[in-house]
Each structure stands twice: as structure tokens, then as C-alpha cells.
Amino acid sequence: MAPWLHAHYDKLAGIRAHAGGIALAEVEGGEGALVVADYARKLRVFKGTRQTAEIPLPPSSEIPSGVCGFYMDDKKIPAIGVASGPHLYVFRCLRPYHKYTAPPVEADALEAKVWRSEEMSPADIRTALAAAHAEGAKLGPRSLAMLPLTSESKQRAHVERVSKIPTTVETTITCTTTLPKASEEPHAMSCVVLGTESRKVIVLEPSAKAALCEVEVPAPPAILRAAGCFDVDWRVYVACRDARVYTITIGDHRGTAVIRKPHLELEAQPAGLVVKDKHLYVATADSRVACYLLKGRRHKVFSLAMPAPVTNMELLVVRKARQVTVLLVALANGEVRVYRDKDLVDVLRVNEVVAAMTSGTYGREDNTLILVTQNGSLLVKMLPRTATFEVGSTTAKGGPPPEQDVPLDIPKRTRLYLDQIDREKANAPAIFRTFQKDALKLKIATATAYLQLRDDDTANPDDNTANDDDDDNNNNNNTAAAALTLAAKVNGLGPFFHIVLEVRLNAGLTSPLRDLPVVLSYDPDLYRTSRPAATLPLLIPGIAAHAIFEIECIDESKPAHPIAISVLGHEEEEEEEGSDDDDDDDDDGDDDGDKPLVSSTLIMPQSETLD
């Protein structure tokens, strides 16, 4: 049973956003709205089935990287933050309110000194920078642009151009999330948390005017998830581009933050991160979703293989008699899978790739799932009151197959076996070398044999076409020009026959032919076969390729009828020939299409019915 109600589908919504670029938030008037940080540098607001507002970001802004809704103070007036470039644009009552800028990155000390010095000539600057670069200093874009400039005039022009720009470099906000400040009540104050390209995680004040605390992580953050409450106890889980998940938490005293050990090593880049109760779910670029324990040493509880890469991962809280939280995993094959712990309980087929997904209260309905696809469509799905997501309610049963619990029948290790292991350990290099030597010898032997075979074949071309050992019904009709020799014989008395073909490359043709199709043409009233065509294996000079057809005579009262066998050329070759001379394309094309490389007619024996 697919439990979802299809509330709305707008194919032409034209939303361009990625995970994190959409959020369900209150905007004004108490009902949940969908806010979108569109690539078109706009904040778009959807309510019900329609877009209700569209606010452009400043023209100089970058493509937005995230959006979130939060509350700046106790007045319960919702605010929307849109991250774009180094800025977080804050909107209140759908009007621009103010702008927070992430701290710029200070240039490398040495680099900054070089640029600030007045008396250095451009050439000296370049030499000094090159030296710093060689020593491994991380140079900013202005220095990197300087390094390849060799001509004096260009160097001077570059120095003049950049000298007015401060040496600090603006960073870019990569991801956002929110963290409740003092309480987790619905309209309570909350802090925006930012991750930046400069490898910082910054927790802002609820007013979004200054940072409460910040931490430097080893790599730029890709996904942020927060849990807890800033004034009490909190965690921010940061999936970074070094394929690790770090945990940031309250430091020695309130208002500070530290990275809490241990971090989580992922096997691939993170594609989704979700915190549920005592577990952390991480989707990785290798199409897997793994679940880790938050307590202790981050023990991996289980890991699930997905049929396609994960594009988005979210939680959906289903408030029923009992509150159930399910994990939603959107895949690149257009599915949204619903997991309850590790059990697959539902698959929602969207048939478009989900670019962004979020869930929560939309309008007056809790349990709403919002999907934005790569084509820009907007889908709104709701859950009926009776939906349960019981384990085993789908045909696609999740979990491990039952075979997993059957122990394998592994034989006991014998003394001999253990001795062998010891010997192999002790003499590994020698064994390896011997093996390599033998392998090489084998390769040489094969190559020599093949060469020998080829030479023999070219020397006496016709000694292998006479294959007439079968007494009554063998027939070769070779075209003189044919590159191939075809020998066919019929085995069997009927009504079932085996037609055995043997195909060789003719002498003089030294290049191999591959994947040639061979077809039988027969009277369909008389014969029947499940496979009237086949593809020949690789044909190399001197080696015969075989193909066997099973054919059944279905009307034994009629006299036997010959069967035509044709080996066809390649279509590509035909096309090439056709395009070579366009003038007689017509005759040529038609001829080529049907002309076999070699064909033969096989006289079939009369089927002898057994009494």
C-alpha cells in the first residue's frame, strides 16, 4: 500500500535549489510555508498551491547555498535567513532586515607582508611569493595569479590592480542550520549555524548580528545538523568534505565550542546527514546509508546499500497514537525510500530526480513531505491519518535475507593447511617470483603457438575447408570473394535437428572480425526455432568459430525444405561504404543492407518419425 496522499504537483514551479535550499518555516500568519532560496537569486515563498511572494536578493549576490527559518527574539516574529556568498541575508515579514557577513580569511602572514611592503619591485614580490609557495604556504588568489606572470609590464599591471584591494579574502557560506537558543518550544528564539569555505562553523546570536562562538574544523563543512539547546547542552554534527563527521559541542564554559572526539570516518563523501534519537544516519556517495551510535565510540549499527546514489536524506515525524519517526532517502533513480530503523517500509516513486526534500508542517497539515525535483517541479505529499509505516507492510521487504543467518559450512583448518600458510608467509617473495616467471612463460608459449598457427594457415590455405565427413547432407556455397568460409552440417534424425556451423576467416585476411551476426532463413510452416539468429564469437585467422542452432520440424508430412544460412557484415561498415559515395547511395545502401558476407544453403534431411 502506498500511503501517500498527493496533495499537489506543480510541474512548472521552476524551482532551482539543492538540499538545504528549501525549508518549511513560518513566514507570517502562523501557517507553515515553503521558503526557497532559488538559484535565480530570489527568496520564494509558497503557501498552499501557490507562490505567494518572491523577493530578489541584492544583484551582486551569489547563488544561494541555504535557507532557514528562525526566531530572532521573544516576539515570535519569524525571520528567514538566506545564505549567499559570504552573507546571510535576513528577512523579516518578507522584507530585507539586515545582513550578516562571515568573517573574511586573513591572508598567509608571509604573503600579507610581501604585499604590504612598499619598496619591493613587482619582480621581487613574485620571487618572494614563489619562495613562500615552494615552502607550502597557502596563497590567496592574488598571489596565485601573480606567479605565472613573467613579463615585467604584466607584473606591474597586476600589482597596481590588486594593491588597492585588502589582502583578506571573502569566504563563502556552504551550509546552514538552526539551533534553539534557550528552549525547544515551537516559537522560541533560535540561532543560525553557518559552515564556511574557510573551514569554520559559526553559531550566530539569535539576532544574527554577531557570532556566539565559532570552531575551525579540518575541512570545509558540507552538511550541518544541530541537536539540543544552546543555553543548556547542544551538538552540531558537521559532515565535512574530508569524508568525516565531526561533533561540535559546548566547551569548558558556556559560549565556547570545541570539537568533541571521536570523529566519524566515512568511506565516501557525505551525501546526507540526519540525527535521530541516539543515532546518526549518514548517506555517502557510494550509495550507502549507515547508522552510527551517538554514544561512545560511534559504533556502526548497520549499513544499507541503496540501488542508486542518495540525493537527499530527511526525517519525517509521523504523529499518531504513537509517534513514529521514519527516515526518508531520496535516490537518483527517482525513488524516495522510507525506512523505519533498518526496515524498508515504503517506496514512493517520483519518477524524477529529487533535488531537494524537506518535511514538516505545511499549511495546517503536519506530516507533509515537500519534494523539489531537478526539473524544477514541486510535489507536496501528505500522510493519511491511518498511515502506519508498519514493518512488513510493503512487498519490498527490507532487512537482511534469511540466508544470512544460516551458518556457512566451513571445514576445519587442518595441520597441513596451517603449515602451508606458514610456508607461504615465510617464502612470500620467492613464491611470488616463481609464479610471475611461470605466468610469463605461459604467455610466451601462448603467443608462440598463436603465431605458429597463423603462419601455418597462411601457408596452406585450403586444407581445412573440406569438411565433408558428414555423409548425406553437407553443402558449402562459398562466394569467391567471401572473406569467410562457412561449413554447416545437420545432426539428428528429426523432428529435432542441430545445425552446427563452423566459420573461419579465409586466408589472406589477417585482421580479426568480431560479433558477426548469423541468421537462418527457413520456411516457417515447416520449421521452428527459438533462436533463428546468433552472434559469432571473435573470429581470428586460423581458428574456427562454431555456432549451434536447434531447429524443429513441425510438419513431418511435407518434404524437407532447404534452409539458407547467412553470415552478415557489420552495419557500421555498411554505413561507411554508403557515405563514401553519396551518388549511388540508393543501390549501394540497399544492397549492403542485405548482402551477407557468406551464405550457404543447407539441404535438410527428411524427418524420420519413430514409431
Partner: protein, 202 residues
Amino acid sequence: MLRRLSASLSKKPEVHILVVGLDNSGKSSVIAQLKPKKVVAGAKGEAKLETTPTVGFQVEEFQYNNLSLTCFDMSGQSRYRSLWEHYYSGVEAIIFVLDSSDKIRMCVAKNELEELLSHEDVNANPIPIIFFANKMDIKDAMTALECSQLLELDRITNRPWHVTPCNALTGEGITEGVEWLACHVQPASSKCKQQRENHRKM
């Protein structure tokens, strides 16, 4: 005199009505419009129409024309919707209130309607059902026809049903709907049959 009044009251046919619909659709407001005005007017007409979300359910008994109505004003909030089914067997009519301006939740209303119609107590009983497409005053509200298409009402074949647009704030359309209901309902103390025959002839 009081005795005469009560005697005349008890003669009136009694009808139990179940009022359902999603939360915020205007069920309590519709009932407030049905109630005799002089009872409501206690606190200055319109002002009384301010409703708060119903918790659980509320029973309203009042006279309407020559009928004695008992309305079960159910709460539409999803956590209380499971209460609806306890009243399916004891009623003679159902009022289903729709918020015609809440297009996105029509699928939820449809789902609840399907649950209701497939319930055995309702299924066994061909009681009439009226749909109030409420809040027609709101800009962008759907018409009664659009609502009935979204809910696929034409699939209901085993009972009389009717859709009517209304505005529970002004009372517009409510009378028409209830009149239809009065003519199709089979009161618990049956007396209405004749009236129904009359209506057919008209």
C-alpha cells in the same frame, strides 16, 4: 403555557446530525449559523461567531423550523478524528464541511471522506450527506463544483448527497443546504415522509 410549549416541542421530529470536516473548515461556525438567532444574540450578533477550535466534540440541541436538531460538532483536528466513527450509527444525516479555500488539503478531506463512507456503520445506512463548500467569500476559494470534482463525489451512488457553497460568517447558503437536508432526512420519529413527497412534486 410552558407545558403547552414543551408539548409542541416534543411533537417535532427529532433529527441527529453528525457534523464533520477537517479542522478549521468552519463546522462550529456553520452550527452557530443554524442555531436560532435569539439564543445567539445574547452576546451581540456577529461577535458570537468567533469560534475557537473544538476540543473533542460538542453537542448542540436546538429547534430549526419544525425540526428538533441534535448536532454533534466533532473536532476536525487529526488527533480527534478517530472519535467520528463512534457517532456513525446513531445519526440520521451527515454534514461534511469543506474549507474551499484550503485546496492543498482537499486530498486529506477526500481521504477522510473515503474512510467515513467505507465504514460499515455508514455503509449499512443510506443516510443523506450534505457538503458545505464553506468560506466561499475568500478570494481564490474553489467553487462547489471544483470541490466535488476533487473529492470525486460522483462516486457516491448509494445515498442522497448534495454540495452547496456557503459562507458560515454571514450565513449565506446555509439555509439552502439545510433545507435540502430536511427534505432527504428520515427523522428518528418519522413524520417527514409526506413532506418529502411534497418536495418531489415541486
